[in-house]
Symmetry: C2
Subunit: 472 residues, 2 copies
């Protein structure tokens, strides 16, 4: 029996669209009312999560859509998953909800078990975690670990004490206590929207306009020619060109570069892919210059690319220093192995809550389900099928499916349209034909179904897409 | 019947201390084991939250301590509160736990009701909220709102579009799209430990060493002479002196100051108080120069000072622009009233989760309990009593209780010792005598009980404190 049928015996067999527009009238009224207390302008529709089931999201107008967007790639196992329901009702969870301890000072006796469950799904070889609250938070916590590591190394010992000058100058936001250090990232990257995370983000102006930012540099992410197999030499040259830019920036930027952060697949920025050779090149350069190598798996992590962690496709040796996670894990933080990334003094990496045990319990339950049912392999199989079907549709509608990407990356698939307006029209019409699908960058469509998306859902999505394209 | 007795019919009547040290042997073993996967160095003891009850926290060694620290000031209603238990088991909560929607795009139909419950406890006149995940996150989200407001105002219209130059330059972290703007804060302030929040923090070097920071200035927080009634003129002069520094910094700092952030009582920095006149002075200066006035109520909010929001003691007119919250609210965000603080374009203040509905449900339940049982007045009464008892103890032990602070601030009480070592010894010995109490700054002790702390708990705390002081 398929996993979706096991989890969701009553899952709809097809979408239901009852209104002429989405949002329908009930959603529109709800948005207007919500907008009086909360910024509801970006709301697509008001959902009814009680009625949502498996791969289908319901709204307050009675529409039920096949969901291939899944809360911006953050639903791991479909809606109303019975295993998560069990975890949500457990005494452990109820305790985590009514008490929210300062787990750095007064952890509950169940914390170690909760963390160990999360670690079961950690990238290979990484057996420590530091927990945070969101993808942006996870990345900034990783930056903190990286900066402290970099400065301790510069001091010549991971146990070196701080000087009086450092202690005094940091209180004034001045060097040497508050040193000028940079994180190198890539054009079109997305790593969050707080101040340091926005400083490494370069996906869209709206993500960062008017915020003061650190003067940190952006390297170029490779831009390949597709299909890859027809452009091997050119793409190899592109790897070399872009790696050289990285090395040059590390050597010449006016602020020392302490860390490099990259997504295994640039997601918000348009599902941009790069080769194993490129990622190994980054590892070699960062090792050579003592730069901390951070891989941001916030969107790519937990199986949707056909590996538990997308960077595992590249066999990077030695592995990245810090790997950040959030979204599908429903919690956040970074994994690591090397204990020199634990700051020399207690309380340097610290805050009141240090994460959220309630969300970590759900993360552990998710990890257990993903591993127990081998959902990564299942997703790979479905994704390969979906990709091959999309290739056929692309031949029929080459104008609307350009640069199809995500071969051998399971359901982590995207393509381009000719312009933003057409892309947005496609996404709107897809909803009216029963599929909730998202965009990324300016002209791309991205598929981000949960790990319970199966062949039957893929067939339905192809059917809805084909119908919609025929109407464009 | 007292509220503690209603909530906690089986609450212990006194502490139990079974081990010769705290952490005891079971805690020490737990810490060692936890430390293999998580940085457990700052752990005081491993708690047993199942056995914790009301104002008492239990540990895995069977110790049960009267808790006047309450998870760094973040327990609103005691441990295992029955009203929160009910909220934790509600269908609404279970849904919020198993689905974590992107509430900016696909809010559930219950979101508006959840937010409205939270808003019931908002500062007077503030009827909008933007939700975040922690105190640091709340402050940084408020900074984003402030910077966007400041720049829109500079553009001459809250609806002005961005220029091509702005759109292009921000992608390179350069002005004008990424302008140099500052937030003014105060020496000894604590506002969090992410990068922008750490840049306005100046409590201890360990909170920010080795992190690159924005070159933002620090004004002086008033340092009063105590007792206040004996130093009226000197303290008035101190207000004038420090307000002048604020105004001078706004006029002369090399980066334009877009916002000012202040705690109503500087908490991590040592429970430093300032007068109503000082706060009104800040409001006048920020209004005069078009600087956004942000009050950080992360630690002071929700009743412990004898007002629902501590800044309400000052009757600031007009009220502060943005008020941030977290800790006792068990969720986080900022309240505001003026709709010009909603950015001109959708998606500017946005992220995948935009907060956490599960934590917002608990916040709503907390708000309801606090208001229904008038816990703010009750806490004021208990705090006044506790303060007067502490005054007596201070007369007996003037060396160990110096600069007693928090008169008319309910249970939000602190005092100084002569040095850090003595303070730390006192805190350790208090635990062994049955009371969990915390420190702040270098030499201060702070009391942060929950809102269910009553006269009987105050009497017990005084008894334990007196015994401990007699042993020093």
């Amino acid at each position: 029996m398929s996993i979706a049928s096991q989890y969701y015996p009553n899952e709809p067999t097809e979408p239901v669209v009852k209104t002429e527009t989405i949002p329908g009238p009930a959603s529109r009224a709800g948005i207007e009312s919500l907008n009086k207390v909360f910024d509801a302008r970006p709301v697509y529709f008001i959902a009814d999560y009680e009625k949502s089931d498996g791969n289908y999201i319901a709204d307050v107008d009675g529409n039920v859509l096949l969901d291939a967007y899944c809360q911006i790639a953050s639903v791991p196992l479909g809606y109303n998953n019975p295993a998560l329901l069990e975890a949500a009702k457990s005494p452990e969870m109820i305790r985590a909800i009514i008490e929210r301890p300062a787990i750095g000072n007064f952890p509950g006796k169940d914390l170690e078990g909760i963390i160990k469950k999360v670690l079961k799904a950690a990238p290979k070889g990484q057996d420590h975690v530091w927990s945070g609250l969101s993808g942006a938070d996870a990345n900034e916590l990783a930056f903190k670990a990286a900066f402290m590591w970099y400065q301790q190394k510069k001091r010549g010992s991971f146990n070196a004490a701080f000087t009086q000058e450092e202690n005094e100058s940091t209180m004034k936001n001045q060097a040497p206590g508050s040193p000028d250090l940079a994180v190198l990232s890539f054009q079109r990257a997305f790593h969050g929207r707080l101040f340091a995370s926005a400083s490494v983000t370069a996906s869209k102006p709206v993500h960062k306009l008017d915020l003061p930012s650190f003067k940190w540099p952006k390297a170029e992410f490779p831009s390949y020619k597709y299909p890859l197999e027809d452009h091997v030499e050119e793409n190899k040259a592109e790897d070399e060109r872009t790696l050289k830019i990285v090395e040059d920036l590390i050597k010449t930027w006016h602020i020392p570069i302490a860390a490099l952060i990259i997504e295994p697949i640039q997601s918000e920025g348009g599902d941009n892919h790069a080769s194993s050779e490129f990622f190994q090149g980054l590892r070699d350069i960062t090792s050579k210059y003592g730069v901390v190598f951070i891989v941001d798996e916030v969107q790519t992590g937990l199986g949707a690319t056909g590996k538990l962690w997308a960077h595992e496709h590249f066999n990077i040796t030695p592995p990245p220093d810090l790997v950040t996670f959030s979204k599908k894990f429903q919690s956040a933080g970074y994994f690591f192995n090397d204990e020199t990334f634990i700051p020399n003094v207690a309380y340097r990496q610290f805050n009141t809550w240090c994460g959220d045990p309630a969300r970590m319990i759900i993360a552990g339950a998710i990890a257990e389900e993903v591993l127990k049912h081998d959902l990564v392999s299942k997703t790979k199989e479905v994704g390969d099928y979906l990709y091959s079907e999309l290739e056929k549709v692309a031949k029929e509608y080459p104008k609307y499916i350009q640069n199809l990407r995500g071969k051998n990356r399971a359901t982590f698939i995207a393509w381009d349209l000719e312009d933003s307006a057409t892309r947005n029209t496609l996404l709107s019409k897809l909803k009216l034909n029963g599929a909730n699908v998202g965009g990324c960058a300016e002209v791309s469509v991205r598929l981000r179904p949960s790990l319970t998306f199966e062949k039957k859902h893929a067939d339905l999505l192809i059917k809805i897409l084909t119908k919609t394209l025929s109407e464009l």
